[in-house]
């Protein structure tokens, strides 16, 4: 048997031969070849026979391949021609499809690029995957507060306790904004940090001048970014120069960094050596630092979390228990920070949910455009059915027809993708302002690949169903009855797609409306204080001793109603500490925010007093502390009413004891996106912080000039910086405003695409019913009657879409509003308005066609046959 095996041609060659020329109705080549092979083996020997067999079989391949290509190309040419003719002949449909798909892909592309950038934040650092940040969880029975900020001793102690931490670095924001001066150039610098000398060991921001290991060692060293160095020194060499900070300290420039890339989760203009402020290594509960660490290669972050447990036990447990919380330290990967910001985070990223939402919207828009294609293609199947019939009769297989129609949708999809890229590039600046940061897009290989994938996906999603539908048509039925248009079933499918489109559009409009309603609520809801006509003048620490004279001087301007001092301007948040009742055991400790303010604060901010009195000037001379608390504090400290709290004693920040002399109403000193918090106020006549000036309504500009003049008299060494309190408050909601803008833009786009599709369908419906409409007119139907007839069908679809969209939007909004402690109510009229809007636009699209149809002379319509 084995002997025989060798005497036969190789199996694979036989197998190949069987594919290339299989035995047919009248020939048996496979057997013939083998017999010939055997004969050849007898006469010329095995080797020659083998060579002959192989060369014969392999020689068949080029011919076969060539034939296949040739015939397919011929068909391709035909397909291209038909596709082109169809595109050109039905210009409206082609334009609708192209426009929709172009807009869709452009949106999709922009959002994809944005999302990809968000996901790759911070990856430019060397060993970015080994860098982590220390977060501190405060866990109470009801909630967990994850703080991105940590305390000074955490970094060094963790490095000692855990093995595998290569280096750590802490940064602390320079607050309040530092006044930096060099020669005549001076300005407030918003974004600076104190940083440990190891900063550039953990992070790899490229240094242009200076040595990475040395620049942040010596106290009073400052490292600038390139653009900040340019602002102060121009073309001069900055290194070795001295900058004056806050008019008190001299800083020596030791290095210059490249500007911080936009894809870093924290941005800064300068760094000051940490040794300048000497962080306290004993205060475990003071958290102004961000602590970053670089782990050794292949060190499990969990080991660091474990090592932190005993540290917490030793240093923090006791105090934490008193405050009724437990503490947990954990490290978060650097690459995760942008996507999962914690409380008080240095990153202004909006987190992963935001990205999911955007991606979802982009996909929806793309899908809407695909639905347009599907609808128009299936609606028009009647017009193409003859072509399908002919092709089938001539011998086209179903698979060929599917390939042809898919090819057509592919062509359109790629055309749209090309146009989409163009549109995306044009819309890039607008999109950047929409999302609130620069977005970089370049025609890279990756982008082209991505486009290709998008195009393929779009062509498949939009082309598959019509291709299957069209190729399924039976030639006999098509050719017999000239009109092979689909029955009720297919138009049901189209109807549900239209419903889907309008549901999405209506839902998006509703969400937009409610987002704006909530935004409006945040901005106009009673804050508990009056922000209009109040200006804020920041007072730096170094200016604190002159704050009193500034106050008196500005207060004497006739256009100024009153001036007050506060250590924090309202709206900018507040510092926190612990407060407890002296009459209750230690478990009454609560976290409170605190203000230092003078006696005029209530007058300037117009905060109502509930009971008791506010500070009086002579409070200054009172020896013991006097406290004013808000209603929230009354509740949190466990008193039944404000009256009960009055006159009671508090222990504030662990050591200061005093009496409550008054209770004020709650006022929003933080954005309304966070809960109301308890406040304890103490008297301070003036100092570091802000002066709040209430202006009289008449002639504000003159008053402002006078205020500036008075400022310059007292503090000419500090620039006059002023802001309006109401604007400061408005700016707190920038993130929500952006959310609203994004939603409105994209929902408008979605609605537009949906209407384009509806317009196309209406055009088609009118064409289809030309004769019917002609007869109706001839029999006496009015133009209006015809318009109603045509609009009726689509109106029902849009109404059904509304019914579906409302609950979906309600559900989403209910969730979204749940994130806000202070929220507006659902407004039913927004739902109705959104539905009405979609309906109006839909009717407009349809009736424009209907009117055209009703205007045509019936003769025109009937003479077609």
């Amino acid at each position: 048997m084995g002997d025989l095996q060798r005497k036969r041609p190789p199996r694979w060659a036989t197998w190949l031969l069987n594919i290339l020329i299989p035995d047919g109705e009248w020939k048996t080549p496979v057997g013939d070849f083998e017999e010939y092979f055997q004969a050849k083996r007898e006469s010329d020997g095995s080797l020659r026979a083998f060579i002959w067999y192989l060369s014969a079989v392999l020689g068949l391949i080029p011919r076969r391949v060539g034939n296949t290509i040739y015939w397919n190309t011929i068909m391709l040419k035909n397909y291209l021609k038909t596709s082109y003719r169809n595109l050109v002949r039905y210009k409206t449909y082609s334009a609708i499809n192209l426009l929709g798909l172009t807009l869709g892909t452009a949106c999709f592309l922009l959002i994809s690029v944005y999302v990809a950038e968000e996901r790759s934040f911070d990856s430019f650092h060397d060993d970015a995957d080994r860098i982590h940040r220390v977060n501190v969880d405060f866990i109470s029975e009801t909630s967990t507060f994850s703080n991105a900020l940590s305390a000074a001793p955490m970094g060094p102690n963790l490095q000692m306790a855990a093995s595998g931490i290569e280096s750590f670095t802490r940064i602390r924001a320079v607050r309040p904004e530092a006044l930096i001066q060099f020669g005549d150039t001076r300005s407030y610098e918003r974004s600076g940090y104190y940083a440990d000398s190891t900063f550039l060991r953990v992070f790899s921001f490229p240094l242009m001048q200076g040595e990475a290991d040395r620049v942040l060692i010596v106290p009073n060293s400052i490292v600038l970014t390139r653009s900040m160095a340019m602002r102060y020194f121009g073309l001069e060499d900055p290194v070795g120069q001295t900058l004056r900070m806050n008019n008190v300290a001299d800083l020596t420039v030791t290095g210059v960094l490249q500007d911080v890339p936009q894809s870093s989760h924290f941005q800064f203009d300068f760094l000051i050596s940490m040794s300048t402020i000497e962080p306290s290594l004993t205060s475990w509960f003071s958290n102004p630092y961000f602590t970053y660490m670089k782990l050794g290669p292949s060190v499990d972050p969990e080991t660091v979390n474990q090592a932190a447990v005993p540290l917490v036990e030793t240093y923090m447990e006791e105090s934490a228990r008193q405050a009724g919380v437990s503490v947990r330290l954990w490290i978060q990967p650097l690459l995760d920070i942008r996507l999962n910001p914690q409380n008080n985070d240095i990153s202004n990223g909006r987190g992963a949910t935001h990205l999911y939402l955007l991606t979802g919207i982009a996909l929806f828009i793309l899908l809407l455009a695909c639905v347009n294609f599907i609808n128009l293609a299936t609606a028009r199947s009647a017009t193409r059915s003859k072509e399908v019939g002919m092709r089938k009769v001539i011998g086209a297989k179903r698979s060929q027809l599917i390939a042809q129609f898919l090819g057509e949708s592919t062509m359109l999809a790629f055309l749209a993708c090309g146009a989409g890229v163009f549109v995306a590039f044009q819309a890039l600046p607008a999109f950047a302002s929409l999302v609130g940061r620069e977005v970089e897009m370049s025609l890279s290989l990756g982008l082209v690949g991505y486009l290709f994938a998008t195009g393929a996906l779009v062509s498949l999603v939009s082309g598959l169903y019509p291709a299957l539908q069209l190729s399924r048509l039976q030639p006999i039925r098509i050719l017999k009855s000239a009109l092979g248009s689909g029955g009720r079933g297919k138009s049901m499918f189209r109807s549900s797609l239209v419903i889907f489109q309008f549901s999405v559009s209506v839902a998006l409009i509703i969400v937009t409306g409610m987002v704006y309603r909530q935004l409006d609520f945040l901005k106009t809801e009673k804050l508990g204080l009056t922000t209009e006509q109040v200006i804020v003048l920041p007072v730096n620490q170094a200016l604190a001793d002159r704050a009193g004279s500034l106050k008196t001087s500005i207060g004497s301007i006739p256009g100024v109603e009153s001036v007050a001092y506060s250590n924090r301007a309202p709206g900018t948040g507040a510092y926190g500490t612990i407060t407890q009742r002296t009459d209750l055991p230690d478990d009454s400790i609560i976290e409170t925010k605190y203000f230092f303010a003078d006696n005029d604060l209530l007058k300037v901010l117009d905060i109502p007093l509930v009971v008791g009195r506010f500070f009086e000037p002579e409070s200054n001379s009172e020896p013991a502390a006097r406290f004013i608390i808000n209603e929230q504090a009354v509740e949190d400290l466990g008193w039944e009413s404000a009256q009960d709290a009055l006159g009671q004693e508090l222990r504030w920040s662990g050591d200061t004891e005093g009496q409550i002399i008054g209770v004020i109403e709650d006022f929003h000193f933080q954005p309304m996106t966070v809960h109301m918090q308890p406040v304890v106020m103490q008297y301070r006549e003036s100092g570091q912080g802000a002066l709040l000036v209430r202006l009289r309504t008449d002639d504000i500009s003159t008053t402002m000039q006078l205020v500036e003049a008075r400022w310059d008299e007292v503090a000419s060494d500090w620039p006059f910086v002023v802001s309006f309190l109401d604007q400061d408050y408005d700016s707190l909601y920038r993130s929500e405003e952006q959310f609203g803008k994004i939603f409105s833009t994209f929902s408008l786009l979605a609605l537009m695409i949906a209407c384009l599709g509806l317009f196309g369908l209406a055009t088609f419906a009118v064409q289809q019913r030309t004769r019917e409409l002609g007869i109706r007119k001839a029999l006496g139907a009015t133009g209006g009657g015809i318009a109603v007839l045509l609009s009726k069908e689509f109106t029902i679809l849009v109404l059904v879409a509304n019914v579906l969209a409302w609950p979906a939007a309600y559900f989403f909004l209910d969730n979204w509003l749940g994130n806000f402690p202070f929220r507006t109510t659902m407004a039913w009229w927004i739902f109705v308005l959104a539905g009405g809007m979609a309906l109006a636009i839909a009717i407009l699209a349809v009736s424009s066609q209907a009117i055209r149809a009703s205007r045509t002379n019936p003769v025109e319509a009937l003479r077609l046959d």
């Binding site: 009248w26 020939k27 080549p29 013939d32 070849f33 010939y36 055997q38 004969a39």
Partner: protein, 106 residues
Amino acid sequence: MRLITRTEEFVLLAVWRLQDNAYSIPLRTELVDLTDQKWSLGAVYMPLERLVKKGMVASELSDSTPERGGRQKRIYSLTRSGKKALLQIHEVEQRMWSGIKTLVVD
């Protein structure tokens, strides 16, 4: 009458000559021997295909042999119109050759 090509004529003749053994391999050998020219298998298939389509040749499957790897032979035979065509050609040729001066190459 339907004209057929020379090649087709040869193949038809070969089929008739081989009778019950008229399948591809012996057909090719017969044609090589008689015409003293090279015939590949494909060169036999092509005219065979045309003749089948013209209805001059019919075929049926026969026994299988080991040298064919156990595959069946397809035996060809002349149909009525195939026989008629051959006879007509033969007749025309005889007419063309008869009554002429003996042809010699100088």
